[in-house]
Symmetry: C2
């Protein structure tokens, strides 16, 4: 039988109770704002808390209420605005729901151990599509964001096929005849879907789409493609790139070597990064509702934890084309650098 419970050195709820001259139950009540407490008791407890500089043990609370009040987020990295915005959306919504966020970054390391450690500390987990394979056994509620999910696991993703189709058709309509898709379709489900749209646009015109040019996501990978183009190893009058970083790197290298974008070759990308509206010509790209993606994920986790059944159908959020000069659109070509001349193919959302 415990007498004071205040055996250790740390200041606990027992210390506070003792100092305030009340029971630990009362302390808990005022701190949780639950139950009824006399003004006098409340004041004394608050005073004691202040004087003792008391910080409750989240672990003890979690254990007692059998809930961590924390959601986990697993991302591969944090370069560029994409992941950051996803994270912000997630964290913001989680905060609104009164939940904390534990972050796990994929990097190169083996995720198995970190992942299960994470699972032991949170109520539910949101994992980024490309990392879905790392998911262990399905004890915690999980949603996969931006990518395919194993059967039974809920998925939330931005629309890819249609916008890729639309973007490709746009290039085709500009009179381009030899389009290349640049991106590793095996690396991420998103990229594969974009290639599908690329293919579909060709088929709709009775054309046959070229095989994808597999490259990674980074700037240096774009350079490589540009070099191959310049060397004649690759031929194209239009490039549909898996993201803006690659697109921008290609554009820069090509321009650098004396080629003209979009006259010699049109270049388009995905993400609408900041640089896209600062380069000349502006980069035509696809803007994704990344913030909402994150927010939606947090929402769904919350509902799942609350006992809601997982959704069978994929949760798909609409994207929008941002037309600037790099695709060959005349009206944007002449604008000087820095002008944010652009056309939205769907209603632009308010920039947060």
């Amino acid at each position: 039988m415990r007498v004071s419970g205040n055996t250790g050195r740390g200041v606990t709820i027992y210390s506070v109770a003792e100092r305030a001259g009340v029971s630990i139950a009362t302390v808990s009540r005022v701190l949780q704002d639950s139950g009824v407490v006399s003004a006098r008791a409340r004041r004394q407890v608050l005073e004691a808390v202040e004087e003792l500089d008391y910080v409750p043990s989240g672990a003890a609370r979690s254990l007692a209420v059998r809930q961590h009040d924390t959601y986990g987020l697993v991302l591969p990295e944090l370069s560029g605005p994409y992941y950051s915005e996803l994270l912000v959306g997630f964290e913001t919504r989680a905060g609104e729901l009164g939940r904390g966020v534990m972050l796990l970054l994929g990097g190169a390391r083996d995720l198995a151990k970190p992942f299960s450690t994470l699972a032991s500390r949170v109520d539910a987990i949101c994992v980024f599509g490309g990392l879905a394979a790392h998911i262990g056994r399905g004890t915690r509620p999980i949603v996969v964001v931006a990518g395919g999910a194993p059967p039974g696991v809920e998925a939330i993703t931005a629309e890819n096929v249609d916008s890729a189709d639309e973007l490709t058709e746009h290039l085709l309509a500009h009179g381009r005849t030899r389009l290349l898709f640049v991106g590793d379709t095996t690396a991420a489900p998103d990229v594969l879907e974009r290639y599908e749209g690329f293919t579909r646009a060709h088929e709709n015109r009775g054309l046959r789409a070229a095989e994808p040019v597999h490259v990674e996501f980074r700037e240096r990978d774009g350079i490589v493609v540009a070099e191959r183009l310049l060397a004649g190893d690759l031929a194209a009058d239009g490039l549909v790139c898996c993201n803006d970083e690659v697109a921008l790197a290609i554009m820069a290298r090509l321009t650098d070597a004396g080629m003209d974008v979009p006259d010699d070759v049109a270049v388009v990308g995905w993400d609408d990064v900041m640089t896209a509206r600062y380069v000349r010509p502006g980069l035509t790209t696809v803007r994704q509702p990344v913030h909402q993606l994150g927010a939606r994920a947090a929402d769904r986790l919350h509902e799942l934890v609350g006992g809601a059944p997982p959704r069978a159908t994929r949760n798909v959020l609409p994207t929008e084309l941002v037309l600037r000069g790099s695709c060959g659109c005349e009206e944007h070509a002449a604008r000087p650098q820095g002008a944010t001349s652009q056309t939205y193919l769907s209603t632009p959302p308010p920039r947060k």
Copy 2:
């Protein structure tokens, strides 16, 4: 007296023990890899874990070991590469130390409650400079990163005064005579330090520095400054901006209006964002060791939790100037867009 301990619905260490035909102590031993366990027992436990899809309770563990094995990170936002890199550095190092990371984003909301909730769930906290005021009472080990810390609290920051001095002197050496500092010196300690360097460079030449032009951090704020310049409300032949976003926005708007950068006015910034090397002229800027800043913070937290005494002296990390065309450097001015023509004033670190 507890009989099975397995009263609830969840699968606990008791369920595993029962299924494996051993005691919970043995289960704990094999899971923690502590103590000696027979191969047979180990196998049975592992099997039971697998079959039951057992996820340990991090809360219970934390309570027992009186440690969360998690560090908190408090940031104001996540726009641009600055905060992201800080976060990545922090998370990476924390991961290496076997610690999880809980993230709290400042935004507009009141941080008091979220902050103390965070404090109850982690062993130590790293808070970004501008948010230092939100720190409650000092129960947990804390480090402040990129900014001033209250007395007694450890601080880690990038060098600001010297590099600002150097950058300003560089502009002065280019023959510029009317320099303006653009940034809110009251918003962040970092900005104030940069203005100090700006002032010092002037004093070293017997000149008097102009008062700072107070603006926020964002692109739109840069636009405002550019408009004032164009309207003649402000006069300058050189702009030292508190960050690249503002600098780029100004440059773009000015160029747009027919002015020439750097001929009419030189523009420099801070952070070396991606766009800085894609615009023409390239933006001269200061690169900060943000990743290391984060990593160092995680390291220090770890040491503090381990019982090390807080350091009295500020931990200052060196920065480097990145010279491109926007400051008036001839050799970079002529390079076509996209070329990463630049000069480092100190050894460039390997890009991670």
